[in-house]
Symmetry: C3
Subunit: 260 residues, 3 copies
């Protein structure tokens, strides 16, 4: 990815803009955050990939998202969806349902968000996962097949599926749930790997392993969450492919549904 | 609060979204930031408490705030108001006056903001307090009685009043005024303690003591403001009730007005 | 500047609000971020200076910017423009062209942004400079003369011109391009020095030297970008005029065009 330095267009939530931009820079990508309906289509066609995150959704942002993803698709650019708290309100459920029809390459959320995206109904409260990854895996498989995308369930062990193949990533630390924006950053990194040319399953796996290993490095010495967040950015910048080869803990298998 | 892990709905300003979310996580609460008029009422009824902060106010945000506070009130959920720079422009004075009629459990601001909220006229310039806490105390008492809420004046010694009883909190360090968002974070923490079930005066006292002690811990060794901000988050995560019992410096008394 | 403690009004992008506010506080200024069309004109006349940054531009923000800069001008307050990614979309080109007609005291951007501002056409992709500072200098001179402002081209050696005199600032480190918001922070600091009473060329030089030296201090020991960002804020707070006198590396000369 560092060689490609993909330009990643983010229509993302206001809570995570700063840490997301810094994480993308640390990982070697070029972040751009812009969300005006007047320009998103023009820019989405220039960028290497698009990241859509509904955390601080508004009606104007939803319009911009639809314009942008259609322009990205028309220009052959991949895009990734983060359906933050996607099942919690009717406004979010409708927005997620609409965006899922627009051909994302990857969808990433926690267990509750992925279940909500798959079944179109409420699950969880706010941004926390009220469901387990295992419970969400079958819904992730179904969603992946229905929309022809890669679906990522974040959790203690991440589950990544394209409906046929699944990858489980065991990297990461609990502290990552104690600071804001780690999930959103994973999604942005998936966008960066998509922008660098990786297909959905590979991009998602690379991003989840990178973020997980960075979290493990940052957690050394058991720092508080403020220090951890700083070190996480440091780690993202310092890690190299060989580190991920050595420290990555992931396994490919057929999806549970198919294997059964 | 860590046992309750209250879900805290924030309609807050864009400058402090990231540090506020991290502070709430560090203190054991679950933050959610969402502000679309299409969904705030639905979400406010789900959350344990609501935080309304007018720092980067817009007309759309004002509409969302009114919808949210009414939904919170109807659902029996407490809410806290931070009237950032509330006396500085006509738009802010009108918004603050409107929100004060909607039954906040707590109002927190600096001396100039609380005087402006109480008298409905300009005081101070921007986010800095041009008035002293002593000067604001009588206005805080009057405001508390008028709207039936707890009112907090932040300063070197914080003044917290419900119109009858007052608490003074002496914790905190001057460095807290040198980074952005410490006042807003206090307000968010008040929201978290309200969400955990504490009444207004107790929630405000707990939040101001927690934040003040965390500031004292973070200031050890006299770091620069960047390092201080990181350690402040670390301290919020590390502090336990017994630390606050040992280090909290606060005293209850009858309000100045009544005692006179 | 610390004595003046200028109140700096920012209509700025959502990615950099937190670090910009902290940098202004560290440097001794009083930041205020507000952008509602209902109040920006009123506030711009109160503040010492205005900073306009189009990073996360929207139509509403553009309207607010125009209202604010006119009010600032009418009140005799200087303002500085940061045309982030200004050449990349038609929406940005039109906005920049409109704002350049409203009398900014200073315009600061990277080489691609300044070329785009000067020639009114696209240059660069996103926020990264695709052009060199040398290439941009002649365009900066022309722009400075056309609009009667000081123009700053950020880069390894910054180029600051009022169309007659030019200053080159050699301070700064490459790491500053690896975290988000350093350019935007430079612009905000220019606003702060304008607010403290310095004329355009002097304000821009002071800001670029301050930021460059702070970057050099923060880069000692070669930290990762997370740690670097924290130390940058620390350094901005710690530096004093004598440090800048000792460490500043800049030179005044006639502009290339005139000297030729």
């Amino acid at each position: 990815m560092r060689a490609a330095a993909p330009l990643v267009h983010n229509i993302t939530n206001f809570v995570v803009m700063t840490p997301t931009a810094n994480a993308l820079l640390a990982a070697g990508a070029a972040p751009a955050m812009l969300h005006a309906p007047e320009e998103v289509a023009e820019f989405a066609a220039i960028a290497s990939a698009l990241v859509v995150n509904i955390g601080t959704l508004t009606a104007a942002a939803r319009d911009a998202m639809v314009l942008a993803v259609r322009a990205a698709r028309d220009a052959g650019r991949p895009w990734v969806l983060d359906p933050v708290a996607g099942g919690v309100t009717a406004f979010r459920r409708e927005t997620v349902a609409q965006l899922l029809c627009e051909g994302p390459a990857v969808v990433r959320g926690n267990a509750s968000e992925i279940i909500a995206a798959s079944i179109g109904a409420s699950a969880g409260r706010g941004v926390d996962a009220a469901n387990g990854v295992d419970e969400a895996a079958v819904h992730a498989d179904a969603l992946a097949r229905r929309i022809g995308a890669t679906v990522v369930v974040s959790g203690p062990v991440d589950y990544i599926t394209d409906g046929t193949r699944a990858v489980e990533v065991a990297n990461g630390v609990e502290m990552m749930t104690r600071i804001t924006g780690t999930g959103c950053t994973c999604t942005a990194l998936i966008g960066a790997f998509l922008g660098a040319g990786l297909p959905g399953l590979e991009a998602a796996t690379a991003a989840m392993v990178l973020m997980g290993v960075a979290g493990e490095v940052a957690a050394q010495g058991n720092p508080g969450p403020g220090t951890f967040a700083v070190r996480l950015t440091d780690a993202l910048a310092a890690l190299r492919p060989k580190d991920l080869d050595q420290r990555g803990r992931y396994a490919l298998r057929l999806t549970g549904t198919l294997a059964a």
